[in-house]
């Protein structure tokens, strides 16, 4: 225990010094087999800012030096916190109508990035792993839980299906759909006043086009597209009442009652015309004697 503790103290010490020397250039010390952590898109925050933003932390009674979290990790944490709140701020207004994917994809991209930095097992500048210190030190695992909530949300809404890779933007398919959707909705708006039959007639082609486009799209769609389509369908079928009418009741009833009529004829005719199957009775050979009769009578009396 003591040996391990000593080693740790030494390592921390060395790393801290190195960090102070090299941090501002955004690189870490390549010592021995250590790999340079590549952190794409992660801007380095000046250490002064780092101190400012964690004032409340410093109010806490501090632990011995060897258990303190390194500045590097604190920095990563602060970035995470910033992006987390940005993302949530974007999400909430996009809840209804659902636009969580198309509006907030970049927020999720950078949040993911920040989280990746924390959770990668690459060693920081002072040869320590922020994953262990930030994520695995306590039972609560706040960082992990917070992020996995967001991740769940992202996965549940199937956002990957309408965002291009690396969160560059909305993919073509979705853009195309949204364009068509807007056309349809504007058509709806145009004819909304007055008689809905007008609307049903005039917007039918654009609605049908949209419907076909939707069904031709991939099987799993992101929630934005799905919700938009659902809303449009509800508008179309329920609000404007443009569904198919039940038009040919008579024909259906006629055909099916004809079908129902056939078996009756069949059974009647087979009852009347088909000869009834008769069975010939066979008579078994049986014992015939008076003695047995006597015996039975004796027994039963």
């Amino acid at each position: 225990m003591s040996l391990r503790g000593n080693c740790l103290i030494f390592v921390f010490f060395v790393i801290n010094i190195c960090a102070f020397v090299n941090c501002d250039e955004g690189t870490s010390l390549d010592s021995g087999d250590q790999v340079r952590p590549d952190s794409p898109g992660l801007p380095r925050v000046p250490s002064s800012l780092l101190v400012d933003s964690f004032v409340p932390l410093s109010l806490m009674s501090s632990f011995p030096e060897d258990l303190e979290i390194s500045n590097h990790c604190l920095e990563l944490l602060s970035i995470f916190s910033q992006r987390y709140s940005d993302y949530v701020k974007c999400l909430v207004p996009a809840a209804r109508p659902v636009r969580v994917c198309t509006k907030c994809y970049s927020g999720y991209g950078s949040l993911l990035n920040a989280y990746m930095n924390i959770s990668s097992d690459q060693m920081g500048p002072s040869n320590e792993s922020c994953r262990d210190s930030l994520m695995r030190s306590d039972r609560l695992m706040l960082v992990y839980v917070l992020f996995s909530n967001m991740q769940d949300l992202w996965e549940k809404s199937n956002c990957d299906f309408c965002i291009t890779e690396k969160f560059q933007g909305v993919n073509n398919e979705t853009t195309h759909f949204m364009k068509n959707l807007n056309q349809t909705l504007s058509c709806f708006e145009k004819y909304q006043q007055g008689n809905h039959t007008e609307l049903c007639k005039n917007c039918k082609s654009s609605y049908k086009g949209l419907n076909e486009l939707y069904s031709s799209m991939e099987k799993t769609l992101c929630i934005d597209v799905e919700d938009a389509m659902n809303m449009t369908r509800i508008l179309w079928s329920k609000n404007f009442n443009c569904s198919m009418p039940r038009g040919e009741t008579v024909a259906v009833i006629a055909v099916s009652s004809f079908m129902l009529f056939l078996p009756i004829i069949f059974y009647l005719s087979s009852f009347l015309h088909s000869e009834q199957k008769k069975r010939k009775l066979i008579h078994p050979k049986r014992m015939k004697s008076y003695s047995s009769l006597m015996n039975i009578q004796d027994k039963r009396s």
Binding site: S256, M259, P263, Y267, I282, R286, M287, K288, L293
Partner: protein, 799 residues
């Protein structure tokens, strides 16, 4: 004379019972035949007896007297025994040939036999699993084409109008599939009709149903099932699996096919009824296991149906076959579903997993379950009652194959049009849900993005409908939909069972039950305070399904285990058991089980577990057939040929006697020989004279008897010249020297027990001097049964 005996005994019964006894239908029914028989064949020996009979029975009307000349004809009913059915020879004939063979066989020989038994059971399992897999895949693929085609058609016509064309398309598709299946069954192999469970039950009971375990039957059964399921009838493919398994077993264990005229020269030892029966029970178990993914259920099914011939090693082997069968099905289905090695499809029907939190049940729900069991019993009895009369009508009037095909086609067309009408007029629309993706959602007049909820039950294969009733979320079906569906499907299923198509009744019963069970669940949930989730409709659907199935088929132990295994949740054991128990008790109060009804309507001499309860006063003397056609130990060939050729008697077993005195009286019993053995002897011309003249001739072995098994040639095909008729035949070597015998005084239940437990075919009745006085066969015992008016007697009839 027995009819006097009968008469007196019955009248004395009548006296005891008061006025009812004399007027029982049995009395007249059983008396009439006897008179006419006496007239037709009464020899001089019985002259006095007959006269005395007439004297005694004064109530015989003139009409009956006039009817004596020709055999009486009556319409078919359930109180007949057909002459068509014979017993199987489950009792081993320990003749000298058998003993010789046993002596020749070494220790390793017996070891090899044991190993080959295991091998055969493994093969049975594999082949049964493969057949199940084949059926499943073909049904799934073709049904997909069918439903996709209809769905597209409906979608097209919803818009432009003309849905009646879709209706006709649907009807025609169903129609043509069913036509193919029904032609196959009606014209080529009528025994492949129905589920096959009654037939297998009879086979395991010891009745030889002609052609039931042939390869041709299997082929037609499999094709017929595929056609009728794809044809959209209210049927399942599970019941026929049991029959298929049994045929596979009977075929594999023989190592040859008589139909294909191929003999692999293996497993020759197993070519006899005793061994075959054991394998057939393994095959039936393997079939159940493949159908429901229930290996233990399969073993118990065999146990329940054929338990009188059972031992521990056999059970273990049967279990092995069952396990192999479900594993094979599982494995090959996983390959066909493109995830090899994922063993999650143990059976043809997959109930899905019942493991969610609110599917647990509570103590206070048990009375509810029992009440549902009672409902199931009543509905099951109603089902059986309707089906009983329908079947009688079918046997009497719709007996020509072309009529049967027409009937099946009409049922298919009506099923389609009823389903379509129900879907068309249903207003129950549910939003499409990506989690419980409906396979063929029909929108019809629903709003976009919604589907017609009625269509999920009708517009699908029945297995899928059962599963969606079990597992779809609460609120997927509205009560009106379910109610209408239950009623419609109940009558459709009842109408369908008994058609000339191969199809089972398990799935339709489950479906009816699941529908009304779900209805109960919805109703209970609406009674409970809002937010309470204890009444999950899926759970009640399962209980309803169990109750309905139990009410219809009345199986007990095996059905409980099958259902528990199919749901994969052992905690459901108690409720399912209670439900089946209640359903059986309630149902039996009204009507027998469906399979028993069909066995009865087929006039099969089926022996139940016990003799009728009030039959102890009947002795063998009244039960047995007498006089018996006996053969002498050294008999003239001509006599034997004459006896065998006599079409009016058509006996199968002949007591062998030795003449002690020159009198006419019956001689002493020394053995029993079967018709099949005599035919083989005649074919090989084993005559005493020839044996002397041709010493080089090979001695007849047991193998020669086995080679002729199971299709012994009829006596007409054996040519015996006039000279040969004068030869003698020594039966000593071939007869069974120690047949089971009873005395005349033995009571019916005692004989019954002996017969049932040992699987006998002939039981010789002797007097105190070891002279043959009568012979008891299966039909003599099976004709007594307990009816509404006490003990009733069935008639023997030519069918």
């Amino acid at each position: 004379m027995s009819n006097i005996t009968k008469k007196v005994s019955w009248s004395s019964r009548g006296d005891e019972l008061g006025p009812v006894g004399e007027g029982t239908p049995l009395l007249n029914g059983s008396e009439q035949p006897r008179h006419s028989r006496q007239f037709s064949e009464g020899g001089s020996l019985f002259q006095i007896d007959r006269l005395s009979t007439v004297d005694l029975e004064e109530e015989i009307s003139a009409e009956e007297e006039s009817a004596r000349g020709q055999p009486k004809e009556i319409p078919h009913n359930s109180k007949l025994l057909s002459l068509k059915y014979e017993s199987l020879d489950y009792d081993n004939s320990e003749n000298q040939l058998f003993l010789e063979e046993e002596r020749r066989m070494s220790f390793t020989g017996f070891r090899c036999l044991e190993i080959s038994r295991w091998l055969i059971c493994g093969l049975i399992g594999v082949l049964t699993g493969l057949i199940a897999c084949f059926i499943d895949i073909v049904v799934e693929k073709v049904a997909r084409y069918k439903y996709e085609a209809i769905k597209q058609n409906i979608e097209r016509f919803t818009e432009v109008g003309g849905l009646s064309i879709s209706l006709i398309l649907w009807a025609v598709l169903n129609f043509s599939f069913v036509m193919v299946g029904s032609i196959l069954v009606a014209f080529f192999e009528p025994v492949a009709a129905g589920s096959g469970i009654p037939q297998i039950k009879c086979y395991l009971n010891g009745v030889k149903i002609p052609r039931v375990v042939r390869l041709k039957t299997l082929v037609i059964k499999v094709c017929g099932v595929i056609c009728s399921v794809i044809g959209g009838l209210a049927v399942g493919k599970e019941g026929p699996m049991i029959h298929s398994g049994a045929v596979v077993a009977a075929g594999v264990s023989q190592g040859r096919s008589t139909t294909l005229k191929k003999d692999l020269m293996i497993f020759e030892y197993f070519r006899r009824d005793t061994e075959k029966r054991d394998f057939v029970s393994a095959g039936a178990a393997a079939g159940v296991s493949a159908a429901f993914g229930a290996p233990v259920g399969g073993v118990l099914f065999s146990l329940e149906e054929g338990a009188s011939f059972w031992n521990q090693m056999l059970t273990w082997r049967i279990f092995f076959a069952s396990m192999i069968s479900t594993f094979t099905l599982n494995f090959f289905l996983s390959i066909s579903h493109n995830n090899t090695g994922d063993l999650s499809n143990p059976g043809l029907i997959n109930f899905g997993r019942f493991e969610s939190e609110n599917l647990n049940y509570n103590l206070y729900e048990i009375p509810l379950f029992i009440a549902m069991g009672a409902i199931g019993g009543v509905l099951g009895a109603l089902f059986n009652f309707l089906n009983y009369w329908l079947t009688i009508f079918r046997i009497r009037y719709v007996h020509r194959p072309c009529l049967q095909v027409m009937e099946a086609m009409l049922v298919a067309a009506v099923t389609a049009s009823v389903s379509f009408t129900m879907i068309y007029f249903s207003n129950d629309c549910q939003p499409l849900d990506s989690e419980h993706a409906e396979e063929y959602p029909l929108q019809l007049f629903c709003a976009d993005g919604e589907y017609n909820s009625m269509a999920t039950t009708f517009f699908n294969t029945p297995e899928k409908s059962v599963r969606s009733l079990f597992h779809n979320q609460p609120g997927t079906y509205n009560p009106l939909t379910l109610g209408l569906f239950t009623i419609t499907y109940f009558f459709l299923a009842c109408w369908t069972y008994g058609l000339a198509v191969s199809a089972g009744v398990f799935i339709p019963s489950l479906l009816i039950g699941a529908a009304w069970g779900r209805l109960c669940g919805i109703w209970l949930a609406s009674l409970a305070s809002a937010g309470s989730i204890w009444a999950d409709p899926g759970k009640y659907a399962l209980i309803g399904a169990a109750a309905q199935l139990g009410g219809i088929v009345r199986m007990t132990l095996s059905l409980t285990v099958i259902l528990v295994e199919a749901t994969g949740n052992v905690t459901y054991g108690l409720p399912i058991m209670l439900v089946l128990l209640t359903a059986k008790i309630v149902g039996d109060y009204f009507q027998e089980g469906l399979y028993d009804i069909h066995i009865k309507l087929q006039s099969v001499p089926f022996l139940h577990w016990e003799a009728p309860a009030t039959s102890h006063w009947l002795t063998t003397r009244e039960v047995m057939s007498s006089p018996v056609t006996c053969l002498n130990r050294i008999e003239k060939v001509g006599t034997i040929v004459d006896v065998l050729s006599n079409t009016s008697t058509n006996h199968n077993g002949f007591p062998v006697v030795v003449q002690v005195s020159e009198n006419d009286e019956p001689s002493k019993l020394c053995g029993l020989i079967l018709r099949s053995q005599l035919i083989v002897l005649l074919k090989h011309k084993v005559f005493v004279e020839l044996a002397g003249s041709r010493l080089t001739r090979r001695k007849l072995q047991l193998k020669d008897f086995r080679d002729a098994y199971p299709r012994f040639p009829p006596i007409q095909s054996i040519h015996v010249s006039q000279d040969e008729r004068e030869c003698l035949m020594d039966l000593t070597e071939f007869m069974n020297p120690t047949p089971y015998t009873v005395t005349q005084e033995t009571s019916l239940p005692r004989v019954f027990k002996l017969f049932r437990a040992l699987g006998l075919r002939h039981l010789v009745v002797i007097d105190d001097a070891n002279r043959v006085v009568g012979l008891v066969t299966r039909k003599d015992l099976a004709r007594y049964h307990l009816g509404k008016h006490g003990l009733e007697e069935l008639h023997l009839a030519q069918t």
